[in-house]
Each structure stands twice: as structure tokens, then as C-alpha cells.
């Protein structure tokens, strides 16, 4: 059976499963639409959070980011898992005790201010929308490959499916479909990783294989990898080549962004008790870690296999002839995400670092006129099983898994955006007498608009999927996390302080990002080139969220000190949030 048909069957079957569950559990009342009635077991909730959390960025993009850079991109691994520690220790149990639907609900009540609520809605929408753009990039990559169309067509088809998917299921549909999606995606990620790890190192556990010996050469895998990449003029894989400050800030930004992202926090409203919210964060990380400890192995092994394919006789011998290229290269050429250009006209594929000055003399000695293969980092995970010549069903499986990852997160984010608009903006601020039906309608309309915007911006995204998503984390880190944390851990921060802090963090971060990435992410309007030489103190737009968060804390503290302290009932509210006893169901007031 050919690969195309097999892909369609695998993807079709998994979709039928998700849609079946969504229809079976179709949302009835508004309260169920948002939080599945407040009664999901911590382990199941952890699994669903895992699916919600692991998006196109984790599944499709992250290992590719690590593959092409190595140690320096470990930031993604630590950042996207370490945030759960903050979530479990600093936010989840208290927000669960508070017991309302959404993040702006908490900020609005705790800071006794409609303005604070509105600012929180604004922060939430901007961060989530940026996140969805990254997802759409990933959706485009996945659909273009498995339908064998160019990437823009893939994106349009993907957007349509995400739309139907999110609009017709509520959280309840989503919670149980996400459990199914988690199972599909973790299986799809792990199976090829195990196969490849066995092939290269003989160790079936990818995380251990990464630190084992390479079977073919007998030396440790990482040492072998360092050797072949430096032979082609690239930076060593395990070495540290970027600014330590930037790496620190980037990791921190991803961590506090994780704890500030509304679509993750909202998950912890769906467990029955405060203690369950703590366990739930732990379980979520268990299920996330299953993928995250394999990802660095997938990255390293993909890089090694890629170079092995192009240089079958070793990195210092002749490369592969273009006419003899394997099937996977042809498949990816269709999508436009992998390009070959015969710069020196010898019909062979030279792949090396043509920006390295040390390597330039060697390249000219060999008559190489520039690297001829352009591989988009976002394709690495999907192409990985093909590169390793794994059986066709494994390749179909990874297509299904990638779509599960992208779909589940996009749906969760759209839900967070739509509830922010219909519940926090319209119902709580603009039109309190709106009917339940009207609220649901507004929620669906908001989803439709956000998906159109995200699709448009996803056509020319501000970076690879994982990088765009990292920007969203920076925004959440700078705006929402500090407000949430101070709301719980300080009784002194008042309405003025919180509003000033959130606005400072959000605006500062947004402007810094727009200067390098283009206003409203339209690349042609960028004011400075996006590279280390032009960044202020070497801080990349991906890392700036940490600085924004620090500013947020400082401004909120100073402004609060200068203005009137919060009234007694707010201090009582904080007191009650800190105490688990007396937790109610996650229902509307």
C-alpha cells in the first residue's frame, strides 16, 4: 500500500475517534462548555493538559530546533517543563480554590477593578493569538506533507479543520478527546524514536540512547555527532555558543510564560479539589516529560541521520548525487519546505555551513559554492522516520500524531480566547444581561475571527513554530504571571499597581518584539535586523519576556506602595484563596 493512502487512513481513523468523542460528549450548558462540570480526575486531567500543552511547537518543531543547534536550544526543554513547577507551587492550587472560570475573573476580583479585568483580557488575547499563529505554522507543515501539497494550501485546509473542531466541541468534548489525542501523539512520537535509537545505539530508550555509544563507529553518539557537524563547518553540537545571559533569560521567559498562559491555567479549574490541582500539575508534567526526555534524542539522531544520508561515505568524502536522492527528499520538495539548488553545477548535494569563515578555505578547495540544501527546521521530526527508512506505518503514525498535537492545542487556545471575549469582556463588562445562548454565540464568533487572523499571519510567520510560540510565552510571562503571583502572595498590591504593572510588562515586551519581528508581526515593517548584533545587550526578542516580567513586578510594587492599600474584603479574599478548606465546585457565581 502506498504511503499517501496509508497516511490518509491513519489520519482519518484518529480524526473519526476525536470527532466521535466530541459528539458523544457535546457541551450542553455554558458551565460545561468551559470546565467540563468541574469533575475530572487528576490523572486524566494531567493527560488532557499534556495534549493541550504539547502543541505543534513541542511535537513538530522543538526537536528540529535542537537538532540544528544542539545544546544551546536546551532552553526549550527546560523552559517548557520547568514552568510546571511554578504552576504547581505558585498558582494552580490557589486559583482552583478561588473557583471561577477564567484568569481575568481572578484578576478582576482580586484587584477589585474592571480595568484590571479588561487589561487581563487584552494580555490573554494577545498572548493566545500569538500562540495560535505558531500552531497554524505547524498545522501547515503537517498538512502539506501528508496531503502532498504546498505549505500554504496545507495551512488553509488545516485552519478549516481546526475551526470545525474547536467550534463544535466545548471543554468537555475537548477534555476527553484530548485524552485520546494524548495517547495518539505520545505513541506516534515514541515509536519512531525507539526504532531510531535501537538502530543507532542498540538502546531502546531514546533518552538513554542519546548518551550511549554509536553502534556503527563504536564511539559515544554525541562525540560522533560533534565530529561530523564540525567536519562540515557547523558549531559543535554539545558546545555552548550563545550568550549565557540570553540563554538564562530565554529559559526563564518560557518557564514563567508556561505558568501564565491562560489555556493551561484554566485546566486546573477542572479538578474537584485543591490538593487535586497540585497533583494534577505533577501528572501533567509526567505525561509531558515522556515526550520531552525523548525529544533531545530525536533531535540529535535526526541530525546524524540527515548528514549520513547526504554524505554516505562520511562527512569528509563526496556527497550524494541529486539524481540519487531518496524518496523523502522528493516528498518534502513538493511542500517547498526543503529546497535544493545546484550552486556549483556538479549535480551533487553539498550541505555545510557556508557562513563559517574557518570552513570557507576548505569549501573553495573542494569547489563548493555554498550550501545547496535548505532544510526547514520544522520538518525534522516529521521527516525523521523517513530519513531513518522506517516502515510506512510508522511514517503514517507520526503524521497522525503531529495533527493531534497541533489540533488539540489550537482548540484549547481558541477556547481560552473565546471565553475571554464572551465571558470576561461581553458578559462581565459590556452586556451583563446577555443570555446563555448569546454568550455561546459570541464565543463561537470570537473563535472564527481569531482563526482567520492566525491563518493570515501564519502564512508568513515571525519564526519557526517553536519560536513563534516562544514569543507568546514571553508575552504571557511579562503580563499575566506577575499579576497572578502577586495577587496570591501579596496582600499589599492594589488595583492601580496591578494595572500599571501588567500594562508596563505587556507594552514593553510587545514593542521590543515588534521592533525586531515587524509591527503586528508583519515582517516587512521590522525596524532593526533580528540578530544578536542588533539586540540590546544580546537579549533576543524571544527572551525579553523575563525583563518585561521584572518591570511588571517593580512597577506594581512601587505604584501600590504610593497608593491606597486594598480594602479589608480583598485581604480576606486573599486569605481564603490561600486556604484549601471550603473549596466549592468550579461553577459560576
Amino acid at each position: 500500500m502506498d504511503q499517501y493512502l496509508l497516511n490518509i487512513i491513519f489520519v482519518g481513523l484518529t480524526f473519526a475517534l476525536y470527532i466521535g468523542i466530541a459528539i458523544w460528549a457535546r457541551a450542553g450548558s455554558t458551565s460545561e462548555f468551559y470546565t467540563a462540570g468541574g469533575g475530572v480526575h487528576p490523572v486524566l486531567n494531567g493527560m488532557a493538559t499534556g495534549a493541550d500543552w504539547m502543541s505543534a511547537a513541542s511535537f513538530i518543531s522543538m526537536a528540529g530546533m535542537i537538532a540544528f543547534v544542539g545544546y544551546d536550544n536546551s532552553t526549550f526543554l527546560m523552559g517548557w517543563t520547568g514552568g510546571y513547577v511554578l504552576l504547581a507551587l505558585l498558582l494552580a492550587p490557589y486559583l482552583r480554590k478561588f473557583g471561577k472560570f477564567t484568569v481575568p475573573d481572578f484578576i478582576g476580583d482580586r484587584f477589585y477593578s474592571q480595568t484590571a479585568r479588561l487589561v487581563a483580557v487584552l494580555c490573554l488575547i494577545i498572548a493566545s493569538l500569538t500562540y495560535v499563529i505558531g500552531q497554524m505554522t505547524g498545522v501547515g507543515v503537517a498538512f502539506s506533507r501528508f496531503l502532498e501539497v504546498d505549505k500554504d494550501t496545507g495551512l488553509y485546509i488545516g485552519a478549516a479543520i481546526v475551526f470545525f473542531y474547536a467550534v463544535f466541541g466545548g471543554m468537555k468534548g475537548i477534555t476527553y478527546t484530548q485524552v485520546a489525542q494524548y495517547c495518539v501523539l505520545i505513541f506516534a512520537y515514541t515509536v519512531p524514536a525507539v526504532f531510531i535509537s535501537l538502530q543507532l545505539t542498540g538502546n531502546p530508550i531514546p533518552g538513554l540512547g542519546l548518551f550511549s555509544d554509536h553502534v556503527q563507529s563504536g564511539i559515544p553518539l554525541l562525540q560522533k555527532l560533534d565530529q561530523v557537524v564540525t567536519d562540515l563547518g557547523f558549531n559543535s553540537y554539545t558546545g555552548h555558543h550563545v550568550s549565557t545571559l540570553n540563554m538564562f533569560l530565554f529559559t526563564m521567559s518560557l518557564m514563567i510564560g508556561t505558568a501564565g498562559l491562560p489555556h493551561v491555567i484554566i485546566r486546573f479549574f477542572t479538578v474537584p479539589k485543591v490538593s487535586d490541582a497540585r497533583w494534577s500539575a505533577g501528572w501533567a508534567l509526567v505525561f509531558i516529560a515522556l515526550l520531552y526526555v525523548s525529544a533531545p534524542a530525536v533531535g540529535a539522531m535526526a541530525r546524524l541521520n540527515l548528514i549520513d544520508t547526504i554524505y554516505p561515505q562520511g562527512a569528509d568524502a563526496e556527497p550524494l548525487a541529486y539524481d540519487e536522492r531518496p524518496e523523502w527528499i522528493k516528498n518534502w520538495e513538493v511542500t517547498g519546505l526543503l529546497k535544493y539548488q545546484d550552486k556549483n553545477g556538479d549535480g551533487k548535494i553539498q550541505y555545510y555551513n557556508d557562513k563559517s569563515e574557518e570552513f570557507a578555505p576548505i569549501a573553495s578547495e573542494r569547489n563548493w559554492a555554498g550550501s545547496e540544501l535548505d532544510v526547514n527546521r520544522d520538518i525534522m521530526v516529521l521527516a525523521n522516520p523517513e530519513i531513518a527508512k522506517l516502515p510506512a506505518w510508522v511514517i503514517a503514525l507520526i503524521a497522525a500524531g503531529a495533527l493531534a498535537a497541533a489540533l488539540s492545542t489550537a482548540a484549547g487556545l481558541l477556547l481560552a480566547i473565546s471565553s475571554a471575549i464572551s465571558h470576561d469582556l461581553i458578559k462581565s463588562c459590556l452586556k451583563p444581561d446577555i443570555s446563555e445562548k448569546g454568550e455561546l454565540k459570541a464565543a463561537r464568533l470570537a473563535m472564527a475571527v481569531s482563526i482567520c487572523v492566525a491563518t493570515y499571519l501564519g502564512l508568513n510567520p515571525p519564526g519557526f513554530a517553536a519560536q513563534t510560540v516562544a514569543l507568546a510565552f514571553g508575552l504571557a510571562a511579562a503580563s499575566l504571571f506577575p499579576a497572578l503571583m502577586m495577587g496570591i502572595f501579596s496582600k499589599r498590591i492594589n488595583n492601580h499597581g496591578a494595572v500599571a504593572g501588567m500594562l508596563t510588562g505587556l507594552i514593553f515586551t510587545l514593542i521590543y518584539i515588534f521592533v525586531y519581528k515587524g509591527w503586528l508581526f508583519i515582517g516587512s515593517t521590522a525596524m532593526l535586523p533580528d540578530d544578536a548584533d542588533h539586540w540590546v545587550m544580546g537579549i533576543s526578542p524571544l527572551s525579553i519576556g523575563t525583563v518585561g516580567a521584572v518591570l511588571n513586578f517593580i512597577v506594581a510594587y512601587v505604584v501600590s506602595k504610593l497608593t491606597k492599600e486594598p480594602p479589608q474584603e480583598i485581604r480576606d479574599l486573599v486569605e481564603s484563596v490561600r486556604t484549601p478548606r471550603g473549596v466549592g465546585g468550579a461553577l459560576n457565581k
Binding site: L77, V85, P93, L210, F211, I219, T251, S275, V293, P296
Partner: protein
């Protein structure tokens, strides 16, 4: 509550509760210290100091960056949940 406690607003409205809260804060501090050391410490800032400890083709810092930190994060969360549930019980504020 009388207004004379306003200088000390982080103090709780009842002492039992406040002891509970400071036990929680102490626990959080300890956990966050470990969180910081295994990620920002061993994997980034202190990596050069650990360069001599070899782990399969690279060094300990690399292992912490790509495997170890994640495993420690898991331990931290489950430890905190377990300890915190005991503390809840001890101060009789648990959610039963």
C-alpha cells in the same frame, strides 16, 4: 480587624492560618531553590564547573540541560504535593 495591623499587611488575620502560610512559604522556597539549581545552575551557569564529569560523550551539564532537569522537576512537584497535603492536614485546613 483593627486598622493598627496595616503596617504588617502580609500577616494573616488569624495566627493559626499564618503559621500554616509560613510553613507553605518555607516549603516553596526550598523547592524553588532545587528548581533553580538543576536548571539555571547545573545546566547553564555552573556547566563549566561540571565539565570534568563526563556523561556518555558529553558532560554532566549537558545531561542536566537535556534530561536531568526535567526529571528533577517531576520529583519537586510530587514532593511538594505530598508535603503540602500533610501540612494541610496538620493545620486542619485540608479540603475534605
Amino acid at each position: 480587624m483593627p486598622d493598627d495591623i496595616q503596617k504588617n499587611t502580609t500577616e494573616s488575620s488569624d495566627t493559626e492560618n499564618s503559621a500554616y502560610w509560613s510553613a507553605n512559604i518555607r516549603l516553596i522556597r526550598g523547592c524553588l531553590f532545587v528548581w533553580f539549581i538543576v536548571s539555571f545552575g547545573f545546566a547553564i551557569i555552573l556547566r563549566p564547573l561540571l565539565a570534568d564529569i563526563k556523561v556518555g560523550g558529553s558532560d554532566l551539564g549537558f545531561w542536566f540541560a537535556q534530561q536531568g532537569s526535567i526529571l528533577f522537576f517531576l520529583v519537586i512537584i510530587f514532593f511538594y504535593s505530598w508535603r503540602m497535603n500533610k501540612i494541610d492536614h496538620q493545620f486542619d485546613v485540608d479540603d475534605e
